[in-house]
């Protein structure tokens, strides 16, 4: 997958703007710098884009010095997949059965976390509208390394049944580094478990390198993201 991506990076046309007549989108009001009065009367300036976000870009995480230790890390990572509880699309409904006794994913070391900071697996559960893509990128970037992305359902692969929709992206790998895809519309809980199992194997083999790929080709991903998110009003990296 990595080679394939690298190949496509080389063929990328310059310039993020493909549609000519873009209107200038003003930055949202709440993101503008403003004066704020504290409870004790003191006043200070808040610049949301500067103050609330980190300016540095993502970094590549290098493997541990020795193979044995790296293998141990990978084993540990594989056995604790913590999924971000962000249902981006309809596929999220099959998560519920997994969280509950019938399919019980917890016995395989899989659980759901409410915040990106605690999660290392982002399941993109289906199509992403542009509006959600924006939130998905931010959520993904807030997750800690090492982190993985699984594309769930055919719409993450090639647009699925929304292939002609004006509001959904067609191929997820243009915008986020995807480690694994599970096809189906939507995939059953058993298929998800199979996917998680395959992901574990990938992680154990040290092949789930999506996050590093994202860091290495950060500019390419950003260019793709900005091409579809016309009102980019957030910092480039939301760590």
């Amino acid at each position: 997958m990595k080679d394939e991506l690298d190949k496509r990076l080389d063929n990328q046309p310059d310039g993020p703007e493909r549609r000519g007549s873009l209107k200038d989108i003003p930055v949202r009001e709440e993101l503008l710098p403003r004066w704020v009065k504290g409870p004790e009367g003191q006043e200070y300036v808040v610049e949301p884009l500067q103050d609330y976000f980190c300016q540095a870009g993502p970094t590549v995480q290098t493997p541990a010095y020795t193979r044995i230790i790296e293998d141990l890390f990978n084993w540990a990572r594989a056995e604790s997949l913590w999924i971000l509880g962000f249902g981006t699309g309809c596929g999220a409904i099959e998560m519920r059965p997994l969280m509950t006794p019938r399919f019980d994913a917890y016995r395989y070391g899989i659980q759901w976390r409410p915040t990106p900071r605690q999660a290392n697996l982002f399941v993109i559960s289906g199509y992403l509208s542009v509006k959600t893509l924006k939130r998905a990128i931010r959520s993904y970037e807030q997750m800690q390394n090492p982190k993985y992305v699984v594309g769930l359902g055919s719409c993450t692969i090639n647009g699925g049944m929304y292939w002609d929709s004006y509001n959904t992206i067609k191929r997820l790998d243009d915008y986020l580094p995807v480690d694994l895809y599970i096809t189906g519309c939507m995939p059953r809980p058993e298929a998800l478990l199979q996917g998680f199992d395959d992901l574990k194997k990938l992680i154990r083999a040290g092949k789930a390198e999506g996050a590093n790929h994202y860091a290495e080709h950060f500019d390419w991903y950003k260019a793709n993201q900005k091409r579809v998110i016309k009102d980019w009003d957030m910092p480039d990296y939301s760590w």
């Binding site: 709440e30 403003r34 004066w35 704020v36 009065k37 504290g38 409870p39 004790e40 971000l84 509880g85 962000f86 249902g87 981006t88 699309g89 309809c90 999220a92 409904i93 099959e94 519920r96 059965p97 969280m99 509950t100 006794p101 019938r102 399919f103 409410p114 990106p116 199509y127 509208s129 509006k131 959600t132 939130r135 959520s139 049944m161 929304y162 002609d164 929709s165 004006y166 509001n167 959904t168 519309c185 939507m186 059953r188």
Partner: protein, 391 residues
């Protein structure tokens, strides 16, 4: 310790009725609940302006799941629309299939076989059971009761197994298509359904004990989000939300469709009109659905076709016309407004989902003065589902 102003004075109301919220005053805080938030049903967000821990203003933001169904359908033939409509509502997709099929049948003049109508009713009631079970888990979860969701999701999964053997799919059944339904009931379906229904009833009895007779739940849900019966018309409130306010609004009895005329049903109502009453209405409605499924299976004809003869669907043209078809889904009135122009494609499809009014105008009205911790509970108690709003 600094002197904090008495927050009950805020926000001040402007002459036009809106609130005077000056963020820079430091008295208010903006808080976004969603789009990725465990207490949100589906993918939407509520922009809360809070003063202390009380909400002074709430704004619903939707569009995270917008795929443009209504536009996509305009460039699909009538049969090609059939697989796509169910995607509008994940927990209860069958209403889309039914309403769309019924609208197409009406405009095209297709007569649906009797037995297909019974099977459609069966599927819609099965879907309602599913939707309510999911709701109960969510409602309890929003008030911190994790175990209810564990039970109801299991019960719902049993119903999904019945769906799977009947329709060939778990979530998106794609079984009700214009002209009828795809297939007959499988061998031995009745018996397995009866076992499932018993399991669901026993789950519900447990839910009744642990949730509805639970001091915590009662304390938090009673009095929360009271809907004035007068708002029912003003805000287009339908379904259990209206019924909990004492308005016996139920399309199944108001304007019976499919075979509801031949079934015994009585709209479930309550009068307290708060989150608790709504949950209770839904619980009782669920029990009625279980009963309706039994009635359907007992009374439905066992012989005959399940599908009308259609013209060749590849170039099926429908004469110019417009219609509106509605049904009572678990959240309220679901309807399809279909306009045709004589071509092979719908001219316009408009999907009217109950959440459209509940999650927007009604929620924004109810959310004022609610404690932050109760926002999720309030939201769930309206049983909203965002794709119905944005489609």
């Amino acid at each position: 310790m600094a002197e904090y102003p008495d927050r009950s004075q805020y926000p001040a109301h402007l002459p036009d009725g809106s609130c005077d919220i000056d963020l820079s005053s430091g008295k208010y805080l903006k808080l976004w609940q969603g789009p990725n938030h465990p207490g949100i049903t589906g993918n939407m967000s509520v922009e809360l302006t809070v003063c202390g821990d009380e909400v002074v203003e709430g704004r619903t933001h939707v569009g995270y799941l917008h795929r443009g169904f209504e536009k996509l359908m305009e460039r699909r033939t009538f049969i090609q629309c059939f697989p796509i409509v169910c995607r509008i509502c994940v927990p209860e997709p069958d209403f889309n299939e039914y309403c769309y099929a019924a609208a197409v049948e009406e405009l095209a003049g297709v007569e649906v076989p009797e037995k297909a109508n019974w099977i459609r009713t069966l599927i819609l009631e099965m879907g309602r059971v599913n939707s309510y079970l999911m709701y109960l888990g969510g409602q309890a979860g929003a008030f911190g009761q994790g175990v209810i969701g564990q039970w109801t999701t299991y019960a719902r999964d049993l119903m999904l197994d019945r769906f799977e053997e009947l329709t060939g799919a778990r979530i998106y059944h794609m079984f009700i298509l214009p002209g009828g339904v795809r297939d007959d009931l499988p061998e031995g379906f009745d018996q397995r359904m009866e076992e499932t229904l018993r399991e669901i009833e026993s789950t519900l009895a447990d839910v009744h004990d642990t949730m509805f007779r639970n001091a915590v739940f009662k304390k938090r849900a009673m009095g929360l989000g009271r809907v004035d019966p007068a708002w029912v018309d003003e805000y287009g409130v339908t379904g259990p939300v209206a019924r909990a306010a004492g308005v016996a609004k139920d399309v199944r009895s108001d304007q019976p469709y499919l075979v509801y005329r031949e079934l015994d049903l009585e709209p479930v109502i309550a009068h307290e009109s708060d989150a608790y009453a709504r949950a209770d209405v839904r619980r009782r409605d669920l029990l009625m659905s279980v009963d309706l499924i039994r009635q359907v299976l007992a009374r439905m004809p066992r012989k005959g076709p399940v599908m009308a003869t259609l013209p060749n669907v590849l170039h099926w043209k429908i004469p110019r016309g417009e219609t509106y078809v509605r049904g009572e889904c678990s959240r309220g009135e679901y309807g399809y407004y279909l306009v045709t122009d004589g071509s092979g494609y719908p001219r316009r499809v408009n999907v009217r989902g109950p959440s459209y009014t509940h999650a927007m105008a009604l929620l924004e009205k109810l959310i004022v003065n609610v404690n932050i911790s109760d926002v999720a509970g309030l939201l769930v108690s309206l049983h909203t589902y965002p794709p119905e709003i944005e489609r």
